[in-house]
């Protein structure tokens, strides 16, 4: 279980300035085990900052973060990672010289058999034969790096996985595969919690609970049925509705070998 208590995060209004502005403003939130939570809300509302505070990438100005009964507020990123928190970055890092296979091995904490690599990569819509020996560098497109980033979290299999806008930069076909993957993890209900920051209706529909964050505060929480009509999404029919046909097709760019 994750508990955020009176969390505040302030930054200087400009470099060197003493005047501060609040990005997270006394936020309280509890995320139980086995819960699929989607955090949504307007841009600049503090969603990504909140994810970074949970992972330890940023340190809160005040308040506390409790993970499974342990106060982790002052713990480093790697300590939190070893406790079972994982984080999929919105804009993933690239590594010169590091192969996809190596990054997956580091994520898993062991040398992964090929079969597992295939599984993780296919879950994000990538064919491992094409990618395992490639370097995670500038030769990969933004969408490819993003999908590899998500595969690292799947390989790590954390107790609490936080994904920051996993859909950003991913084509519609891979996105389909991704929502299936999130649904599978969730349906397994094996003591893992997922927090996804997203604006995507189809991801929001998967949630047990939607948390709406605005101006650094939780303004509303509820189930998709309760909140979706009020989030401004026009009902497109059933919860499992398929997206309409995309207007621009780039079939040749989509790996079809897997």
């Amino acid at each position: 279980m994750l508990e955020l208590k009176d969390l505040v995060f302030e930054v200087p209004v400009s470099k060197g300035s003493r005047e501060t502005k609040r990005i997270i403003d006394g936020l309280n939130l509890t995320i139980p085990v086995d819960r699929f939570t989607v955090i949504t809300g307007p841009n600049g509302g503090g969603k990504s900052t909140l994810a970074k505070l949970i992972m330890g990438v940023e340190t809160p100005t005040s308040g506390s973060i409790i993970f499974n009964g342990l106060d982790i507020t002052s713990m480093s990123i790697d300590e939190r990672a070893r406790l079972g928190i994982g984080y999929g970055f919105q804009q993933p890092a690239r590594f010169k010289g590091m192969k996809v296979k190596k990054l997956l091995d580091i994520a898993a904490g062991r040398k992964l058999p090929m079969l597992s690599c295939n599984e993780y990569l296919s879950k994000v819509g990538l064919c491992s034969a094409d990618y395992l020996t490639r370097e995670v560098d500038k030769n990969l497109s933004g969408g490819e790096v993003k999908r590899i980033e998500i595969a690292t979290i799947l390989a790590r299999d954390p107790k609490l996985a936080i994904y920051d806008e996993p859909e950003a930069g991913i084509d519609l076909w891979s996105f389909d595969r991704l929502t299936d993957t999130f649904r599978d993890i969730h349906e397994a209900r094996d003591g893992r919690s997922i927090i996804i920051i997203s604006h995507q209706e189809r991801i929001i529909q998967l949630a047990d609970e939607i948390v709406l964050i605005k101006d650094g505060k939780v303004v509303e929480t509820g189930t998709p049925d309760e909140l979706m009509p009020r989030l401004g999404f026009v009902a497109k029919g059933m919860p499992h509705c398929q997206l309409t046909q995309p207007t621009r097709l780039h079939i040749t760019e989509i790996p079809t070998t897997c």
Partner: protein
């Protein structure tokens, strides 16, 4: 084979050439300016030079799948060893050459090895050359390596050179010169890590003289502490050719890295490109690896290893 190799010698040989005991096939092991052991094979003849200290290595045309080892170790302080090794690689060969120099210096006196290697690569031959430089020892004496590498590629010859110097060498000035005939190809990879007060300079002059000749120069380096590096490659295109120079350096501590990649074209059909980048380890790389459970130090080490691998 009854050859007197101390544990220090054996460790140096394993470090620079990954050999344990005497290798199979053709080899020449040199220690402190003297021959330790030599072996020629049916296709590869190694003979002492008559004009200069060093050896001539003649590889018969059509030799395929063979490896030659010519490591040098220096364990004696105060020694300056200069050696000339010349390779004559026949046509249609496919061979690997493992060279390298390891210095163990426990004293306050300098140890120096200057290897002048020349490669004549015959038509259609494919040569892979791996050279590792390594220094160790607690002494304050300098460990100096100043290699000169000359490569002459005949038509359609391919040469892949990997020059690696990771840690331990106090001072190095490396000069690499190459001339390429038509349709020949050179891939030159340099990997360098300097630390403490070390200095390293790499000069290259690569002349593309024949049509469809191509060169790719890849330099990856890490400069730590107060070390200094200068990378100075020049690719000259005299024909319808392709050249690409890529220099990437990670800078840490108070180190200084100078990259002066140069390209010079004397033909309107020459296509030459250079790229150079120097920067510290990106913070987002360390953060990402920490979210995967590595400590900051482990993350940094991992990034450097991959960068240089």
């Amino acid at each position: 084979m009854a050859v007197d190799l101390s544990p220090i010698d054996e460790n140096l040989l394993a470090e620079i050439a990954n050999i344990h005991g005497m290798p199979k096939g053709a080899f020449n092991i040199r220690r402190d300016g003297k021959l330790v052991e030599r072996h020629s094979s049916a296709n590869i003849e190694i003979a002492t030079k008559t004009d200069n200290p060093g050896i001539d290595i003649r590889i018969a045309p059509g030799t395929r799948g063979e490896t030659v080892y010519i490591p040098v170790i220096v364990t004696q302080a105060g020694l300056k060893d200069v050696v000339y090794n010349t390779f004559y690689i026949g046509e249609d060969c496919d061979v690997t050459i493992i060279a390298g120099c390891g210095i163990h210096n426990e004293s306050h006196e300098a140890s120096e090895h200057d290897g002048i290697h020349t490669f004549h690569c015959g038509k259609n031959s494919h040569v892979k050359y791996v050279e590792k430089h390594y220094g160790e020892g607690e002494g304050t004496g300098e460990r100096i390596l100043n290699p000169v590498t000359n490569v002459i590629l005949d038509e359609k010859a391919i040469c892949e050179m990997e020059m690696i110097q990771l840690r331990g060498v106090t001072s190095t000035v490396r000069d690499t010169n190459a001339t390429l005939a038509a349709k020949s190809k050179l891939i030159l990879t340099e990997k360098l890590l300097t630390h403490d007060d070390q200095m390293a300079t790499s000069n290259m002059k690569i002349e593309l003289n024949g049509d469809d000749a191509s060169v790719q120069v890849i330099s990856r380096s890490v400069a730590q502490d107060n070390s200094k590096q200068v990378f100075n490659p020049l690719v000259i295109g005299n024909a319808k050719c392709r050249g690409h120079v890529q220099c990437d350096a990670i800078i840490m501590g108070n180190a200084r890295v100078t990259a002066i990649p140069g390209i010079e074209a004397a033909s309107e059909d020459a296509m030459l490109v250079h790229e150079a980048a120097i920067g510290k380890i990106a913070g987002d790389q360390i953060t990402k690896l920490m979210t995967l459970g590595l400590t900051e130090e482990e993350a940094e080490q991992e990034i450097l290893e991959d960068f240089l691998n």
